[in-house]
Amino acid sequence: MARIIIDTENHVTPQSAFLSRRQIIQGAGALALTSAGASYSMAAQGKVPGWLDKKVGSTVYRSYSTDEALTDPQDAKQYNNYYEFGTGKDDPYKFAHEFNPYPWEIEVGGECDKPGVISLEDLLSSQMLEERIYRLRCVEAWSMVLPWTGIELGKVLQKFQPNSRAKYVAFETIIRKDEMRGQKDAFSFIDWPYVEGLRLDEAMHPLAFLAVGMYGEALPVQNGAPIRLVVPWKYGFKSIKALVRIRFVEEQPPTTWNLSNAKEYGFYSNVNPGRSHPRWSQATERRIGANGKIKRIPTNLFNGYDEVAGLYDKMDLGTFF
């Protein structure tokens, strides 16, 4: 099934993207449907509820794009770091079927005026989903280009009305030892649940995204189903998967990789070619591109998303890595 995507101009600011979208909607009669050539295979996925499949599949707005070639869907689905399912790159793909994420609820609390538990369905029903093509840069120095479907994180967070004490946002992945075999690994260096965090202004940045779909389908389990964070200017491990809890907090929250090895993984973990990982260089990355071609290319500061630079104006990125 081919999807028709209305593509706004490449590299536009989100505000103007919204405008041009409205213009497109208004001019529906004379709509010039630009097929962006986005026809992905609609592989059947077992347990995904119909409403979610439909909602993701019917998304037609693309607010961010890039001229780089997309990574093949099968590569994105079979090469994952998701230690809840094992430390091998193909473990998440192999053992994803053991985890059933539906139905799903997210608990939002902490320093906010309207805390609560919200079901995935309620969270999405009032929202129009959009597609965003983002580069994903892993701290291990490989990268992909992926089309996500979802909603802007900031818009979701605002609904819960964070108060003046809210300075950071803490995120948490589900624990389900019976369905996620990696959580039973006796030699694991990780304490479950996987936790992550952002500064509030980072979380409110229009680029921060909550994805429920990938390649026009509901998110596969190994990619973080049913809902995950996507923070494209930071190393991939910041983009926490299978999100069950969000808390607004006053102090910088603990984050899993920082707890595991503080010298190697900082709280911010912005993509930065100038700051090597103690065990390898971050100056270049192995891009897993179209047709499975892998090529080493230079890495850009903030993964090329210069619009976030303002968030770190007064910070020394070497100290706050």
């Binding site: 590569d75 090469y79 230690y83 430390t87 790159k89 065990r279 892998i294």
Partner: protein, 180 residues
């Protein structure tokens, strides 16, 4: 086998075939190294002829280590010498790996029968380097464990087993001498 697959159908090895062959070659080098170290304890258990294969096992270890190194140079860093120099200066796991390979190549060069005759008693001394190598190789593996130390613990246990037998024997013979 693996290399054949890589040449004819790299995709069958997964999304990043280079990463797979790199890791596999390294792991096989370690396995053969452990096997060659296991020869003497096994001989003492009664299978005397196993020692005939020790040289071959050691050379296999060197072969896989060399393969591992060439895949790193050509496939992983794509012959980028700047990356190489940075790696070798700054990254302990890279220079430990390089030192291990260099020591292993000394053992490989001194492995032919002629060299054994030439070096005479010194040959045994030179080949005790294998104990240094196994420790370095294990650290090389350990430094790369990220979320789980499963692999490093498994191979570490095997190394302790084959080296421990030697220590145990030394201690026992030392005690036996004292009681005499």
């Amino acid at each position: 086998m693996l290399i054949g697959l890589y040449i004819f159908d790299p995709r069958s090895l997964g999304v990043d075939p280079i990463e797979v062959v790199l890791k596999e070659a390294g792991e096989w080098a370690l396995r053969f190294l452990l096997l060659s170290l296991a020869c003497s304890p096994i001989r003492r258990l009664g299978w005397k002829s196993i020692v005939k294969y020790r040289r071959m096992l050691g050379l296999y270890a060197f072969y896989y280590a060399s393969l591992h190194l060439s895949i790193y140079l050509t496939g992983w860093i794509e012959l980028d010498w700047q990356v190489f120099i940075e790696d070798i200066v700054k990254r302990p796991f890279i220079y430990l790996g390089m030192i291990s390979w260099t020591l292993l190549s000394i053992l490989a060069i001194t492995s032919p029968k002629r060299m054994v005759r030439l070096l005479k008693k010194n040959w045994r001394k030179v080949h005790r380097l294998v104990y240094v190598i196994i420790v370095l190789v294990w650290i090389h593996l350990w430094l790369q464990s990220r979320a789980s130390a499963g692999d490093a613990v498994f191979y570490g246990a095997l190394a302790v087993l084959v080296l421990g037998e030697r220590v145990y024997r030394k201690v026992r013979s030392y005690r036996a001498q004292r009681t005499l």
